[in-house]
Each structure stands twice: as structure tokens, then as C-alpha cells.
């Protein structure tokens, strides 16, 4: 079924709604409401366009933001969990590990090591052919 421009704009509006509000407690009613579509109709259309359900997209968005925050200093794991919209540290940690292969703290440690090495020895991150060719 061909989607109209109006429907595309509504679906995109809903995606942007998730992008801008993922840190709050939002559900399918809020998201479909932002597109002025019924829950059922919206769920089907969003999934058709983005090849994942609104809930899968919301979860992915939260986990991606969590990774970004874990790569920085200043926030505890609990703070990161709350900041990206999870209510339970346990479910956040379990989901994080399932999606990334590491627990949040381990991910943070790896990111810290990489950043330290990047600052101290940047050439380790550049293939030698680039260093030679561009005299870096």
C-alpha cells in the first residue's frame, strides 16, 4: 500500500517525538497521539516505515543515549539509567548487556580506556598508510 505524504509526515513527526521525549515516561498512546493516528494504525505504519516497532525504536534510542552518557564522566550508572528514561536499574542493565554484550560499567571502562589512549597516542588509531601519505 502506497503511503501518502501526509501519512509520511505524521510518522516522521512521531519518530521526532520519540527522539525528543525518550527520557520521559512515554507510551504508545503518547507517541501515536503525536501523529494523530489510532494506536493500531500507527503501530502498523511506523513498523512498516522503520522496520521496527515504536517500542523497539524507543528502547534503542534510550540505550544509544545511555552509551553516549557512559562514554562521558560525571554521571553514575543509576543517573544514566534515570536520565535516559528507564525506571529500573535492573532492567536497564539487563537490556544494555543484551543489546551490547557488556554491562554498563564494563562499557564505561572500555570507553574510558579508549579515550585515554586516543588522547595520549592518537596515531594508534590511524592506519599507517594515512600517516605516511599525509605526513601526519
Amino acid at each position: 500500500m502506497e503511503l501518502t505524504n501526509d501519512i509520511y509526515q505524521r510518522i516522521v513527526t512521531a519518530k521526532i517525538f520519540i527522539d525528543e521525549n525518550f527520557h520521559d515516561t512515554i507510551d504508545l498512546d503518547d507517541i501515536s497521539g503525536s501523529a494523530y493516528l489510532s494506536r493500531f494504525h500507527f503501530h502498523r505504519l511506523f513498523t512498516k516505515v522503520y522496520k521496527r516497532t515504536p517500542h523497539q525504536y524507543l528502547t534503542q534510542k534510550r540505550i544509544e543515549k545511555a552509551k553516549e552518557l557512559l562514554e562521558k564522566e560525571g554521571l553514575s550508572i543509576t543517573d544514566v539509567c534515570n536520565t535516559v528514561g528507564f525506571e529500573s536499574l535492573g532492567s536497564f542493565s539487563t537490556l544494555f548487556r543484551r543489546m551490547n554484550g557488556y554491562a554498563p560499567q564494563y562499557y564505561r571502562n572500555l570507553a574510558y580506556l579508549k579515550k585515554t589512549l586516543q588522547d595520549q597516542q592518537p596515531k594508534q588509531f590511524i592506519p599507517h598508510c594515512f600517516i605516511e601519505s599525509y605526513k601526519l
Binding site: I11, V49, K51, P122, F125, Y134, K135, L136
Partner: protein
């Protein structure tokens, strides 16, 4: 046996603008952002579906990039003329991506059109390169 492509250089005329386009607008992830002793910035990003393929956002106009002035000028001319067609991005839905990026102020050379291989539009990165943005036909 060659198995895959891990790095691709993409000459850009402004690294900060390139960062904004690829990271903030397209949603690519920064892989490495390191400053060399001479001030040269090594900046690479990866697309969400290809985390092992680093795109090097190479500053074509920087005096620190090791290229001689003639080469820098030639690259600058090509980028300023928009003559660098760089590749193809794949998207789950061309029209939705087009609408979203247009709303974010991204410039396009062409709107989504049906092609025999899918739906395609042409996007400018704002740093001298254009890409096809393609939604492949479902098999």
C-alpha cells in the same frame, strides 16, 4: 584474501560542518576524534548498520593535512563545485528519511523517485559531497 573495507576517506571542506551533518543529522556515531600534535584532527564516523566501516572525514583544505597547495586547491575547487559524488547510503524508507532530513535543513539535489532498484533521492552533505540515498526494493 581481501574480506572487507574498513576505512574510506571522504574529503570535506569543513570538518565541523561535516560532524554536524553526519553525526547530528544522519545519526552516525563518532568512532575516533583525535587531535594530532600538529593540530590535525583525525575524525572518523560509522553508519548505524556498518559499525566496522570507518568513514574518515578528511579536511581537504587544512594546511596540516600533508597535501601540497596545488592538491589542496584542486580539492577545494571540486568540493566547492559539488563535483564529488561519494557513494550510496541505504535507508529503510527513503521518503520518511527525506522528510525528516528536509525538516532538519538538509539540502537535496533531487526528491525521492522510483527507480528500477528501489526509491532514491540525492542528498548534499553540505561539505562538497553528494550521496544517493536509496531504499532498495524488497525481494
Amino acid at each position: 584474501m581481501v574480506t572487507k573495507l574498513s576505512h574510506t576517506s571522504l574529503f570535506v571542506n569543513d570538518q565541523d560542518k561535516a560532524y554536524d551533518f553526519y553525526v547530528n543529522k544522519l545519526g552516525f556515531k563518532v568512532n575516533t576524534d583525535a587531535k594530532m600534535e600538529n593540530g590535525f584532527r583525525w575524525l572518523t564516523v560509522t553508519a548505524p548498520g556498518a559499525p566496522d566501516h570507518e568513514i574518515v572525514l578528511f579536511p581537504a583544505t587544512s594546511e596540516m593535512n600533508g597535501l601540497d597547495e596545488d592538491v589542496r586547491n584542486a580539492l577545494t575547487l571540486l568540493l566547492d563545485k559539488g563535483a564529488m559524488g561519494a557513494g550510496v547510503f541505504e535507508t529503510t524508507d527513503c521518503r520518511a528519511t527525506y522528510e525528516e532530513l528536509k525538516g532538519k535543513g538538509v539540502q537535496f539535489k533531487s526528491e525521492p523517485k522510483e527507480q528500477f532498484y528501489g526509491i532514491e533521492c540525492i542528498v548534499n552533505d553540505g561539505c562538497g559531497n553528494w550521496f544517493s540515498m536509496t531504499q532498495r526494493k524488497e525481494k
